[in-house]
Symmetry: C2
Subunit: 337 residues, 2 copies
DNA sequence: CTGTTAGCGCTTTCAA
DNA sequence: TTGAAAGCGCTAACAG
């Protein structure tokens, strides 16, 4: 591939001049500029990014560390972040850590070696080993969807407690008196807050509830929702509504209901959390407490860029509201007690 | 951040020696090796990837150019590719070109500037402008899910014609005599082949069919499926089954059926194509012609790596079979004609 | 306005 | 087995 040197030779100018026209820095006479541009054209020149990064001490690369690219929530998030950053001239390096602490560390090292200008991270929340690498490399990070108080970083998240409260209140207002709650993780701070909010709402209105919590952590939220629902529905009397703390788990619940011959929503109301696109596609469409996923992504990217290159900007802590989206999977309970 | 020079100083050796222990190349006496390792430890050393790339003329970065990260098919594909390449010591740079030819070109330039060692590309199929950048930069590419005969590259794809045939045969065997076919693109080679295969099967068995093709290209396959189904269902006599050439479009069809008061599958059978995870989550679960998405990803990554670094290896052309997955959305037609 | 030059951090001959 | 030194492609002083 052609280098700046080839261009200089062909255009009959110095390296510096070529560099100036490429970067539009300094003044170059129109005549020389034209020559250089022409040379670049004929040689099909593309600047060498690694060389530039080495010299400028910036890569215009941003790391994105998430559990899985595959997941509807994180996929949408990644897409939003990528679009925003691309427009700003940054590229993203995607890392799916699969909630595995070892992979998190490996990926973090990778990103620091790559000298990314910043990183957006949605970590497991368990081990915090990875964080020190970023700190040591002085790479700014923003945490998304996770609140880890021990880490000095900007944060962008949703008001999970409020969302939990909101979702539960929807069921209360519909008249449900017996509700099942499905947590998907004991470790996730976000999930715990949702659960707290939901329990608070139910408690305030004297609604009976049962909580299902997984004994081991898993990425298989669908299966988890399915199993949890089976368990909750075997109780006597059985709940007339189930609030699953992620949409994917809620979908598992709906299938469990079908497998038990229960119609949704007439015999069992189901509500989820996240607002993934897929929820709207279900039949019946899923009622959910929606996170503004794209906005989370944009905000995170925006907040991060504000810190990139700055010596020591303030950490920002942004909390976005959730929104209750009532669709077809919830209704009044069949029988009033 | 610490550099190799700092390590050398602290360990009291030369730069070359440090480099040798980092890369495990050449022989270093155990004593010195220990000193170096210790120095690296205390300084928290992480090699500078851009510098290394500059020198070695390889980046261990692979570009992935897809329509959208968000889409269930491409998200799963990207995830599979990322996992495979990570294990092989490569990182991926994700680019969602949104089926926009200009963005494809922009992203391609970006990837060549980044000096990626290779790229996996699922292009729109319309404009081929982007390809020349890779060619000129001598960057090996593998085309996934698209067969562009004009481009010299390896290819990994599914037998789309066969898949179309297979899906249509399923409907034929169930006894349907009047079928709607929904294409989602006039330009995509893959979609056209599916359509041909399906038409062939129906033709061979004297089944009447009507084809819906979009007048303009769109990414909104759900909406497209919905509208197309409305159109097809307004015919007299109406089809007893609809074969949508992507799963997302098929989901739109199911919703259209519901909106018309038609039960799936008793009054309308619906079959899709792709085998996205979400199809299994629907109620009723979607019958589909599944692509082995993860395998496509692994194969593509594998084929690409086989070409990375090689001067002029053969282009490979891999075709994987589709698999009919019969679920709940198809059944025999209600009334025999 | 233009050119010369010194590195950025690393790998890799080539000598010792 | 070890070290000195050149150079990957580019940018940014510094001179002129």
């Amino acid at each position: 591939m052609a280098t700046i040197k080839d261009i200089a030779q062909l255009a009959g100018v110095s390296l510096a001049t070529v560099s100036r026209v490429i970067n539009q820095t300094g003044n170059v006479s129109p005549a020389l500029r034209e020559q250089v541009l022409a040379a670049m054209e004929t040689l099909n020149y593309q600047p060498n990014a690694p060389a530039r990064s080495l010299r400028r001490r910036e890569t215009r690369l941003i790391g994105l560390l998430i559990p899985q690219l595959n997941h509807p929530f994180f996929g949408t998030l990644a897409y939003a972040i990528e679009r925003f950053l691309f427009a700003e001239g940054f590229r993203i390096l995607v890392c799916s850590a699969e909630e595995d602490a070892d992979r998190e560390v490996e990926y973090t090292q990778l990103l620091t070696r790559q000298r990314v200008d910043g990183a957006i991270v949605a970590p497991t929340g368990l081990a915090l080993d990875w964080a020190k690498y970023f700190v040591h490399a002085n790479i700014p990070i923003v945490l998304i969807d996770r609140n880890l108080p021990d880490i000095a970083a900007s944060r962008v998240m949703v008001d999970n407690w409020q969302g939990g409260y909101q979702g539960a209140m929807h069921l209360v207002e519909l008249g449900h008196r017996r509700v099942g709650l499905i947590s998907v993780s004991r470790h996730s701070q976000a999930i715990r807050e949702r659960l707290q909010g939901a329990m608070q709402a139910l408690h305030e209105h004297n609604v009976a509830y049962e909580v299902y919590e997984p004994s081991v952590e898993t990425l298989q939220q669908y299966d988890l929702g399915f199993q949890a629902a089976l368990k909750l529905l075997s109780q006597q009397p059985r709940p007339s509504a189930i609030f699953a703390l992620t949409d994917v788990a809620a979908i598992g619940v709906m299938h469990a209901a079908v497998s038990q011959g229960l119609a949704v929503p007439s015999q069992l109301s189901v509500i989820g959390f996240d607002g993934i696109e897929l929820g709207a596609y279900l039949i019946p469409a899923l009622t959910t407490v929606a996170q503004p996923i794209e906005q989370l992504g944009y905000k995170a990217a925006e907040v991060l860029l504000r810190r990139v290159g700055r010596v020591q900007a303030e950490h920002e802590h942004i909390v976005l509201p959730t929104q209750l989206i009532v669709r077809a999977s919830t209704s009044m309970p069949l029988l009033a007690e």
